[in-house]
Subunit: 295 residues, 2 copies
């Protein structure tokens, strides 16, 4: 299986992902056997209706033209990639479903709001061990998802539209914190320049010495601006802070793995049973209970 | 300090909350010394603009009229309670700031989107040990926050407005899963009845044998519907599934406490340093690294 993954064999990849997604027997051994390749993991996030999928399609066309390989993981329940993998490749958006350079997988989100699957890190790791140049993770940009995608992707691309201006006040800081690159899609619409400019002002105040957060205008349906996006993504990978960011993300992931390992033995049902009994006594204190558990 | 908390002494409460919120020395001892009283913890959640704060104000008026005591914890960054505690009591909404029956505290949200503070459970527990009848936690209803508030409150009240109809499809399941009570606020607006009816149909399909999720029409600015809300909250507390739900929530909380205890010794900076070194070697595998850490 590991061999097949290394060769980008579709069947091996699909099987391996199913194993880690559902934590089937052999999952832990499989993960311990992975050797990360050179893939650049890109997070594409933004509100519903921003045209994330159309943009990804245009990006994939560029990837194919450059003779590169890409994998797409769609976690957004409204994504045509997700729908496409359910309905087959009959949708207009799923034009790359049968391409040999592109591997597409949609996975169930943890919550109905498009939160990331609990196994997204492991799934991405399987793909990292294959021979892809790019791994694209598409998520809906609401709430905590943003923090999660930023913890997963080497480069996070936040996609907005001119109309996002009204929402941006509410989302501002959340989005500012995770974006390595901003895209203003549907830039042929009214208000695009004004919106891009106000975004640029925000981006400047956030940019560090090591990376100036760019704001790119695109019209994904026409393929406009995709070349520039491609270029900025590549520039980000080679920017000064990139390795530091990578180690930071790795630390978060390994921290979670260690935490999972340490909690593996704890049976929630057993805990619940004992709590139901203990909580009946007056003077019950959950902090004292937790400290002495399973005591 | 514990003594002061039991007497609802404002200074003691404020100090105790500051200690647990910032995990200052003595925090663990303080928490272990708490003895939960009889407070009913209410989660008020919903999208910005639904009138959560106005509704809470109207509810507080009712509480005061009944000669009961209430504490409000505002985690919503757009809440006038939160603004009020920053700006003083000059805001119209904060009419209860100086009431002896009401204690108001606003706490910083973890993320800018209004996620719950990492210490909200502990803060609520301090208030649970005081002599309040109601503890109201106000949060903005986006993304993962919903799951968090449902894990904290004995009774979760989801506040919507007639205009929420458009968003409800996207949020539907998330909200359906956590609501014990629905409120359609601003019910004097057009479309209120139609919206309440469609909400009722949804609520019915979710209701179990033990609790039928009610949909209440309110006009918080006029105080309309607050009596009914008060009554349903009380009914929910005495419903058949309430104790079971309480034990379920307690289990989640104690699980998290145990997890925190088990991870207390792990120094992230040390982990990061060792990862930075290990990741340089080809063949580095984070799963193997995590399993043998600190090795």
């Amino acid at each position: 299986l590991l061999d097949g993954i290394g060769r980008n064999d579709r069947m091996s990849l699909a099987r391996a992902i199913t194993i880690v997604e559902n934590d089937l027997p052999g999952s832990a051994e499989l993960l311990r056997g992975l050797t990360p390749g050179h893939a650049h993991v890109l997070g594409f996030t933004g509100p519903p209706g921003a045209g994330k999928s159309t943009l990804i399609n245009a990006f994939l066309r560029h990837v194919i033209a450059m003779d590169k390989q890409a994998a797409v993981v769609a976690v957004d329940p409204t994504s045509p990639f997700t729908l496409g993998s359910l309905l087959g490749d009959r949708l207009r958006m799923a034009e790359h479903f049968n391409s040999e350079s592109v591997f597409i997988r949609s996975i169930a989100s943890r919550g109905t709001l498009g939160g990331l699957s609990g196994r997204i890190i492991e799934i991405t790791d399987v793909l990292r061990s294959a021979a892809f140049d790019y791994i694209i993770v598409e998520t809906i940009g609401v709430g905590q998802t943003e923090v999660e995608i930023a913890g997963l992707a080497d480069t996070t691309i936040v996609i907005l539209v001119p109309e996002s201006g009204d929402d941006i006040q509410a989302m501002k800081s959340g989005i500012m914190e995770i974006a390595d690159i901003f895209v203003v899609n549907k830039s042929d619409r009214a208000g695009a320049d004004a919106f891009a400019n106000s975004l640029r002002t925000m981006a400047e105040s956030r940019s560090g010495d090591e990376w100036e957060i760019p704001v790119i205008n695109t019209v994904a349906t026409e393929g406009n601006g995709i070349g520039e996006l491609f270029e900025k993504i590549s520039l980000h990978r080679h920017s000064a802070g990139f390795t530091e960011k990578h180690i930071h993300l790795l630390t978060e992931k390994v921290y979670q793995l260690i935490r999972n390992n340490r909690m593996k033995d704890l049976d929630r049902e057993e805990l619940k049973k004992r709590l139901a009994k203990a909580a009946r006594h007056s003077g019950f204190n959950m902090y004292a209970f937790a400290e002495s558990y399973p005591g």
